[in-house]
């Protein structure tokens, strides 16, 4: 019951939040000195050409009207035409989404795979050498600039050791899109060459993305476990002679994960911001790289499109996080 209410109330905030976001972005976009029409028309356009285009795209109307028209378009799923690529923005977004998701999932996978067990272990071995070393690593993981890490990884593994590709998502075009996820697609058509290529391209960007996230997970899991491990119920379970591994990996972990799960929304933010930079450095054809390009080109429609998308993704992730939270913590669905 409560779960449904959480979902509904989250969804109810969806639209106002996105509209609010758009107002912010729309406002700042219109301070851009770029004249979108000029960009659209190309290097050598004449004044009449510009006027015609201005009318065609509705740039001659007052700003509030433009905004309302834009909202109408957005409501119908039309994000407009990119000034720079001259293609529908939603199409580009859909086209690039699998790349970003594939990378993000890989990073989530890596960070959870390493983050949670390491977090538990360092909590158990609190103040041991292991814990100290891990603490140094996690603090470093959060301190390192992702673009720099990406470059250093490229320098080491691609340029010098030549064990991983420098950038890109796959060599060439990759398998024909079925799901759009190269790893899955190449498995579906059993194309081992593509699979190898896709995985080897993914490894460096995924590590770059996963490092700060894994560090965050380690820290939260560690703190969660430490908090739980001192709780009375652990004392009780120990006093009742329940085997220690069971206490840790079943009873403590489940409790500790409650706080970790609530952090996943935040971690996802880390991923999305990370994606923006990491995709740029690794030339990963996802929406993050598209956003940076659009921003650098002052392609404000594309920026707004990207903003809506990230806003929506972020809100959805938070929604999922909330639901997951109610699933693992029975107290919250009361």
């Amino acid at each position: 019951m409560r779960r449904l209410e959480i979902i509904v109330s989250r969804l109810a905030w969806f639209v106002p939040t996105i509209v609010g976001l758009l107002i912010i972005i729309f406002t700042i976009s219109h301070i851009i000195p770029t004249d979108p029409v000029r960009v659209l028309a190309g290097d050598n356009a004449t004044q009449e050409q510009l006027d015609a285009l201005r009318k065609e795209y509705g740039y001659d109307k007052p700003l509030p009207i433009q905004f309302i028209n834009y909202l109408k378009d957005v409501a119908t799923g039309n994000l407009g035409i990119s000034i720079f690529t001259k293609r529908p923005i939603s199409e580009t977004m859909w086209h690039r989404l699998p790349a970003t998701l594939e990378l993000t999932f890989a990073a989530v996978f890596l960070s959870v795979l390493f983050g949670i067990p390491l977090g538990v272990l360092s909590a158990l071995k609190r103040n041991s050498l292991f814990d100290h070393v891990l603490r140094v690593i996690t603090v470093s993981g959060l301190a390192v600039a992702s673009f720099w890490l990406a470059m250093e990884l490229q320098f080491l593994f691609s340029m010098n050791l030549a064990v991983a590709p420098l950038n890109g998502r796959i060599s060439g075009f990759g398998p024909d899109p079925i799901t759009g996820f190269f790893v899955i697609d190449s498995l579906l058509i059993w194309d081992m060459e593509s699979l190898r290529s896709a995985l080897s391209h993914m490894i460096l960007p995924a590590i770059t993305l996963a490092l700060p996230a894994a560090a965050t997970i380690v820290r939260f899991t560690r703190a969660g476990v430490l908090e739980v491990i001192n709780s009375n119920f652990v004392l009780y379970e120990r006093a009742m002679g329940i085997p220690w591994p069971l206490i840790v990996w079943k009873y403590v972990l489940r409790n500790a994960l409650i706080s970790t799960v609530t952090q996943i929304g935040l971690i996802f933010g880390v991923f999305l911001s990370g994606a923006v930079v990491v995709e740029t450095v690794f030339d990963w054809p996802g929406i993050g790289a598209y956003a940076v390009n659009s921003i650098l080109q002052s392609d404000y429609k594309a920026i707004m499109g990207f903003t809506i998308w990230t806003g929506a993704i972020f809100l959805i992730v938070n929604l999922i996080t909330d639901i997951a939270h109610t699933l693992i913590d029975p107290r919250s669905s009361q």
């Binding site: 996105i18 700042i28 720099w148 908090e227 930079v277």
Partner: protein, 288 residues
């Protein structure tokens, strides 16, 4: 018996993380102040020696030279000034906006808190880096605009933090008892609530410094930061990118500088959290 602050100080000295962190930050500040004296080639911030470009590190140029033939070490030392300035001003603005808003919304509850939550929700609905990039780009690349973009995107964090802390402190009995004694709201907020959430703000500020520096570096990297020839670290890394295969030192030095400084602030924040945050302290005393 030791007083609260002296106790905190002695803990601080014992906490290695906080100590290392503050040593690093102190180092940064000293570098910034004494950059003209420390730098082997202080003129190289503006001075180019095109025939001397991309020299590998040696006894003269400890960190090598860059694409214009300037001494990388000297530029990094001067870059510390920019980094400190951006971080300090941005965080000050952020705190100045976020703390009062969070305090008032948290203290009064009801619609101010709703309004705050909604507005900050909107700001928090997309990753801060993205928003900062968008704003910085819109306003045009300059240090002032970087600061503006950072403050505009980071204030909700402080507002939220102060809001949450205020809400929880407000439930403390000593607050209720101050109200019961008849203390007016401003008195309660400024003299009771604020000092009690100060440690949380300090901790957050220290870690926030690190984040701000990272985001500023990203903006610099994307060419949205200080214009050339400012020796901004993110910009230096961006400049170095095309020379990465031949000139490894070029990217490595500013990257390490960012890393060290952010690490310093994070360590300090972590350490301060252990020292100042009573909740953790309580948990720690229960710990095995």
């Amino acid at each position: 018996m030791k007083t609260g602050w002296r106790q905190a100080l002695s803990k601080f000295v014992r906490d290695r993380a906080a100590l290392i962190g503050s040593v690093i930050i102190l180092g940064l500040i000293l570098c910034a102040i004494f950059a003209p004296y420390l730098a082997p080639f202080p003129d190289d911030v503006y001075e180019f020696h095109t025939s001397n470009r991309l020299r590998a590190p040696d006894g003269v140029h400890y960190f090598g030279t860059d694409r214009m033939g300037s001494d990388v070490l000297s530029r990094i030392l001067f870059g510390a000034r920019i980094t400190i300035m951006i971080a300090v001003i941005a965080i000050s603005i952020t705190v100045a906006i976020g703390v009062p808003i969070g305090l008032i919304a948290g203290y009064y509850g009801k619609w101010p808190s709703d309004a705050l939550m909604r507005v900050s929700d909107i700001f928090l609905a997309i990753p801060q880096v993205v928003l900062a990039i968008a704003i910085a780009q819109t306003l045009g690349p300059s240090i002032e605009n970087v600061i503006l973009a950072l403050s505009a995107t980071y204030w909700p964090f402080w507002a939220r933090l102060v809001y949450a802390e205020t809400r929880s402190v407000k439930n403390e009995i000593f607050i209720e008892s101050a109200i019961a004694l008849g203390a007016p709201p401003w008195r309660v907020m400024l003299l009771h609530v604020l000092p009690n959430i100060a440690s949380a703000i300090i901790v957050r500020t220290s870690i926030g410094m690190g984040n701000t520096i990272l985001t500023a570096a990203i903006l610099g990297f994307l060419g949205l930061g200080a214009p050339p020839p400012a020796p901004e670290w993110g910009r230096m890394i961006a400049e170095s990118r095309e020379f990465l295969p031949e000139a490894w030192w070029y990217a490595t030095a500013p990257g390490l500088a960012i890393f060290l400084v952010v690490m310093g602030f994070n360590l300090l924040g972590d350490g301060l959290r252990d020292i100042l945050d009573p909740r953790i302290r309580r948990a720690a005393s229960r710990e095995e």
